[in-house]
């Protein structure tokens, strides 16, 4: 069993008790515990089940590399799945539940999969679930979905807040072990602005646990001193609980700060995502111990040797009462010695090397520990907990068991691999180190920045060296090099001196024993989380998967949430062995950010709830909200679609608004319309090029409707242009097209016609613009008074300005409805008051506000097109019968050449017509006109489609506009439109102008 030791761990405060629950069971830990150490202290070794075989799984590691011990954390609005117990700091009231089991952790039905393990080998899914085809959708997929997956998805909205933070530094140091501390000191002393981040709550990394001296003092004392020195440097910032997530181009680095995960009671953002620009990045990310592939290496109680040591020293937890150490290098002996020192029984150290270890082995023997060189674990005995190990010779197939050693924990050490993830994210290359049997960064092939110069430097064991002395000198050099590359002069202070490494070389052990039989290989786990075993990788190789990337995907090796931190090297070594290739030739899979998963909340940052997205408001918005408007999105605006009254449906409300506007007077908030000032001696010439029609002939005081096309000839935007004076035009655009149109103008002015004397400015939001529409519109304005808006003083398509009812007004007499209509612009800050004044003045004339749907129907009754309805980026003005607005006199305009291309000039294009159903019904939006036969895709042959369709209360029937092949030549003919229910409806081709064809109503 795992228990608390009598000697307290260095990171826990035994005077402070912390209560938490696991699967509802109440447990106690200490302040300073991680959830993993607290679970172990409560003898909770088994914490979950595996992905495929639902095998019992225990804690394997003590840090970010943990593959097994993932739990659901919290509940309700703080629920989060897949939280690593090894990196979760314990807090009072923490509640965790285990994942991936049914019905319970102890008894799991899915474990029956293990009995069929012979069939569930690599590629099983691909081979098994392909036939018969129909079963996939209804049987296989639902079943697999039910049994697969880690954790549950949260159901409630996240109750926490998150934020981003932008920081700019000369040198960012990732990792606060002794290497990171020394690199930060060296860079800081040079005067560089340094940001040092450590993913855990503690600095010093492994050194305090592994021991040793630096500059003649204990590592732990040196660490405290280093932190104090960093603290004194004003140019150095030190952050704990902050992980380097990913390294990106141009020195961009993401830092993930867990502000209050350890103290949820704080009123603070939960996570802060740092968006850092660093001139140089130092990765002092350390190394990760590798497991050894022996049979039963996934049974709870089998743990990395370094983790066993960490739990004992840092948290005062013995993971077993009898712990067997199995190793291929000297470092494993440190665990045996430390356990022995703390009073934990170590029945044996099993060393795969024939000639065993050096000084550490002598120390172990001296401490009375049995050392077995040249031996191996044939198999671990036990189910939910280690019960013993079978000892055999390393060289052999594991058939001849020498002895069974009783134990309840196994500490394994397969050597160490530098954490190269952050080095590799942006293109840093690796080399194979024959001595340590690991991939390490190749400093000659570093990630390069915008100047082609290296911008990532590794420090300490992240560079490869594993001894304290080498680690410190490497880190010191890295810090100095980073500072120099960032433009500073490094001090000539010597590097601190750490203990020299006195160890015998490790011996790579990719499989234990060397020639294990198949039955053993089937129980040797490489990837704990995804249940990938030695036999799976061997099978993949035999089936022809030679590329490591293909093998990864076929077997799912390294594809779990731990991204193969433990399995990567072991897996590709097996692959290389099976392919009879060298490991460096097989290579590694790609390392991608994030280093470990980060919260979705931190990625979104503050963008949630009310500020998920900016919503644009007009100056009259609050009135709309207060008066029950039903809103619809128009770009980032929310515009009133209609203003329902009482129990009205939206349809009834829209019909009422139309009828009222056509008989009395309606108000529309048109503030969202784009407004762009175009000024300069060449403004007229410029607009002649921007628009298809002639703008230079427009007289000051007049308005003209214009069409704007892109260079391909397709219709892009439309609107009314008013000439303010000889040199100045006010261009109106669609609501959604304002920013785009302004950018379009600027692009042409800045890149093509830079010699034109024209300036533009977007004044969309300077004005509140209100359309006063209907036969009684003039009476409303006359009531406000101050300006002559009579038929003769302000003619159709003219504008004027003055004081209207005391407001600074510019009045455009334009109409998008066919009625007598004024659009009045006032400064935005007067907009709401002006709206209120219009409502009051219009009361006696039956004024009502109307929304966008009423606007749409009224324009359709008049046959006016709408950008986005009649156009979709593939429609030219000629398709819409707008030839009258395309100047033939002008030498050129944007889109002219495009429109002359044969397929755009073709008579066979679908062109605009009006459509009336024979039965008076409303055509479905987007319906296609179909004829006999099928096209090459097996679809009904189509000859047109509906672009706008409405019920017209004015006409008492459905009306529609659509694009039909040869449409304008087919007036009066019937066309068949397909409905989604399979039936069709007949519609007659008519003129699209239904209402007041002569335009008398708008011209009164």
């Amino acid at each position: 069993m795992s228990t608390r030791l009598s000697k307290a761990g260095r990171l826990v405060d035994t005077s402070k008790s912390v209560a938490f629950t696991f699967n509802g069971k109440k447990m106690q830990g200490h302040a300073g515990d991680t959830l993993a150490s607290a679970l172990l202290a409560n003898d909770q070794m088994m914490v979950g089940r595996s992905f495929k075989y639902h095998r019992p799984r225990g804690i394997v590691a003590s840090g970010a590399e943990e593959p097994n011990a993932l739990v659901n954390l919290g509940s309700g609005n703080t629920f989060e799945p897949n939280q690593r117990t090894t990196t979760t700091e314990l807090f009072d009231g923490l509640s965790a539940t285990s994942q991936n089991h049914w019905p319970s952790l102890d008894f799991d039905i899915g474990a029956v999969n293990g009995l069929f393990a012979n069939y569930l080998t690599a590629g099983f899914y691909y081979k098994m679930f392909i036939h018969p085809r129909p079963l996939w959708k209804y049987v296989y997929e639902p079943f697999i979905r039910q049994s697969a997956g880690l954790g549950k998805a949260p159901k409630d909205t996240d109750g926490d807040r998150y934020e981003h933070f932008y920081a700019y530094v000369d040198v960012a140091v990732i990792g606060g072990g002794v290497a990171g501390l020394q690199a930060a000191l060296a860079a800081g002393e040079a005067g560089a602005k340094v940001l040092l981040m450590e993913q855990t709550a503690h600095f010093g990394g492994r050194a305090p646990v592994d021991g040793g001296t630096i500059d003649g003092i204990e590592a732990e004392t040196w660490i405290a001193g280093a932190l104090a020195r960093l603290d004194e440097m004003p140019n150095v910032t030190v952050r704990r609980r902050m992980m380097g997530v990913g390294v990106y181009d141009h020195g961009y680095l993401l830092g993930y700060e867990r502000v209050k995960d350890h103290a949820p009671e704080l009123d603070a953002p939960r996570h802060r995502l740092w968006r850092i620009r660093a001139k140089q990045i130092v990765t002092a990310t350390g190394a990760i111990e590798r497991p050894i592939s022996f049979a039963g290496n996934d049974i709870p109680g089998v743990m990395l040797a370094s983790a066993v040591r960490d739990y004992a020293v840092n948290y005062g937890v013995a993971v077993g009462q009898k712990t067997v150490v199995v190793t291929n290098n000297d470092d494993g002996y440190r665990t045996a010695l430390k356990l022995k020192e703390l009073g934990v029984d170590v029945p044996a150290v099993i060393d795969a090397r024939e000639d065993g270890a050096g000084a550490l082995a002598d120390a172990a023997r001296k401490a009375g520990i049995r050392v077995e060189p040249g031996k191996a674990i044939a198999k671990v005995k036990g189910g939910k907990r280690v019960e013993g190990v079978e000892l055999c010779r390393m060289q052999g197939n594991g058939g001849a068991v020498i002895e069974t050693i009783k134990c309840d924990a196994v500490a394994m050490s397969g050597g160490w691999s530098p954490v190269v993830h952050l080095w590799s994210h942006c293109g840093g290359k690796l080399v194979w180190d024959e001595v340590e049997s690991h991939f390490k960064p190749d400093p000659d092939r570093a990630p390069t920045n915008q100047e082609g110069k290296p911008f990532v430097i590794t420090a300490g064991s992240a560079s490869g060296p594993l001894g304290l002395g080498e680690v410190l000198s490497d880190a010191d050099a890295a810090g100095k090099k980073a500072a120099e590359a960032a433009g500073f002069s490094a001090a000539s202070t010597p590097a601190p001196v750490g203990d020299a490494r006195d160890e015998k070389p490790m011996q790579p052990v990719w499989m234990m024993p060397s020639d294990a039989v198949y039955n053993l290989r089937m129980k040797m786990w490489l990837d704990y989380q995804n249940d990938v075993k030695v036999s799976d990788v061997q099978l993949a190789a035999r089936e022809g998967y030679e590329s490591v990337e293909h093998t990864k995907r076929y077997t799912t090796l390294g594809m779990a949430t731990d991204q193969g931190k433990l399995s990567n090297i072991n897996g590709l070594a097996i692959l290389a062995d099976t392919l009879d290739a060298e490991i460096p030739q097989v290579g590694t899979t790609t390392f991608r950010p994030p280093y470990t998963p980060i919260s979705m909340g931190s990625i979104g940052g503050e963008a949630r709830g009310e500020i998920f997205q900016p919503i644009r408001h007009t100056p009259i918005q609050q009135w709309h909200i207060d008066n029950g408007a039903y809103m619809e999105p128009v770009g980032h605006w929310r515009r009133p679609y209609t203003f329902p009254r009482g129990s009205e449906t939206h349809e009834q409300a829209v019909n009422r608004e139309i009828t009222n506007t056509r008989t009395n007077v309606g108000l529309l908030d048109a503030s969202t319309l784009g407004k762009i000032i175009v000024k300069g001696p060449d403004a007229a010439k410029f607009l002649d090029l921007m628009y298809t029609n002639m703008m230079s002939t427009l007289k000051p005081g007049k308005c003209r409707y214009g069409l704007m096309c892109n260079e391909n000839g397709f219709l892009m935007d439309d609107g009314v242009v008013a000439r303010l004076d000889e040199e100045t035009f006010l261009v109106h655009t669609t609501s959604g097209g304002a920013a785009h149109t302004h950018a379009h103008m600027e692009e042409w002015l800045q890149t093509e016609w830079w010699d034109m004397k024209v300036y533009t400015a977007d004044v969309t939001e300077q004005y509140a613009q209100i359309a006063v529409v209907g036969p009684k519109a003039r009476k409303v304005l006359e009531k406000l008074g101050g300006m002559d808006v009579s038929k003769d003083a302000l003619k159709f398509m003219e504008w004027t300005q003055g004081k209207l009812g005391g407001f600074d007004a510019r009045i455009f007499r334009i109409s998008f409805s066919g009625e007598l209509s004024y659009e009045i612009a006032v400064p935005a800050s007067q907009g709401r008051a002006f709206w209120d004044a219009l409502m009051e003045a219009g009361e006696e004339h039956g004024v009502m506000p109307y929304g966008t749907e009423c606007l749409h129907v009224m324009r359709a009754e008049k046959g006016f097109i709408m950008i986005g309805d009649e156009t979709d980026g593939t429609v030219i003005p000629q398709d819409l019968g707008l030839n009258w607005a395309i100047s033939k006199k002008k030498e050129d305009f944007i889109g002219k050449r495009g429109q002359q291309r044969t397929f755009l000039a073709s008579e066979d294009r679908w062109r605009l017509v009006g459509l009336e159903t024979v039965d008076g019904s409303v055509l479905p939006d987007g319906a296609y006109a179909v004829v006999h036969g099928h096209n090459e895709n097996g679809q009904r042959t189509m000859i047109g489609r509906v672009t706008s369709t409405y019920y017209s209360p004015t006409l008492g029937r459905g009306i529609a506009m659509g694009l039909v092949k040869h449409g304008p030549e087919r007036m009066g003919e019937l066309v068949e439109f397909a409905k989604t229910d399979g039936s069709t409806v007949m519609a007659k081709i008519v003129d699209p102008v239904w209402y007041d064809k002569e335009g008398e109503k708008q011209n009164v």
């Binding site: 920081a167 620009r277 408001h617 939001e765 300077q766």
Partner: protein
């Protein structure tokens, strides 16, 4: 004429620093050849400052000042009540030369971010180095805050002024307020 109302009518919040909407201010977008001495002279006279701002700088303040916006664009600040006259003044002084001066006072929202930690509030939403070494009084950026365009400058110690489009004034206010909420102090600068 009725009273003109700014987008949030002077709303404010107190977090670890204060975020306040500062009401209406006269703003004139000017585009032209910024090396033209006549233009510079006229603009300085209108804004009551001695010289045009350098790149990414602000001279003067909200009641009279000029902000650099781009190589051919400035924002001139004058008292709101005077802005129409000031535009007329510019147009008559510079008549005959090629430039653009347009009143955009009503198209903008103006905010103040004041108090210790004001730098951090901006550093949470704008991709700008807000460290005291890099950003000092008179420095200005035309950039974005989270998802909207904005310009801001440092008016004094722990005091920033920010302008954005009026339509997103509500978004900007809430964005800045949540970024200034207590408990969110970063302690970096």
């Amino acid at each position: 004429m009725s009273e003109a109302i700014s987008v949030l009518a002077g709303a404010n919040t107190e977090g670890f620093c204060r975020v306040s909407e500062l009401g209406l201010h006269g703003m004139i977008t000017v585009r032209g050849d910024l090396s033209n001495a006549d233009l510079a002279k006229a603009l300085c006279a209108v804004a009551g400052v001695d010289a045009l701002p350098e790149v990414r700088k602000m001279v003067g303040g909200l009641e009279g000042g000029i902000a650099w916006m781009s190589p051919d664009e400035l924002m001139v600040f004058v008292p709101y009540a005077q802005v129409v006259d000031k535009v007329d003044e510019l147009n008559s002084t510079l008549a005959g030369s090629h430039f653009l001066a347009v009143n955009v006072s009503d198209a903008r929202a103006v905010f103040g971010i004041d108090g210790a930690g004001a730098r951090e509030v901006i550093a949470k939403v704008a991709p700008v180095d807000m460290s005291p070494e890099a950003f000092t009084t008179g420095d200005l950026r035309r950039t974005r805050i989270a998802q909207v365009a904005a310009a801001f400058w440092m008016a004094g110690d722990d005091s920033f002024r920010l302008i954005c489009f009026r339509s997103v004034g509500d978004y900007a206010f809430k964005l800045l307020s949540v970024s200034a909420a207590k408990g969110g102090e970063v302690g970096y600068f």
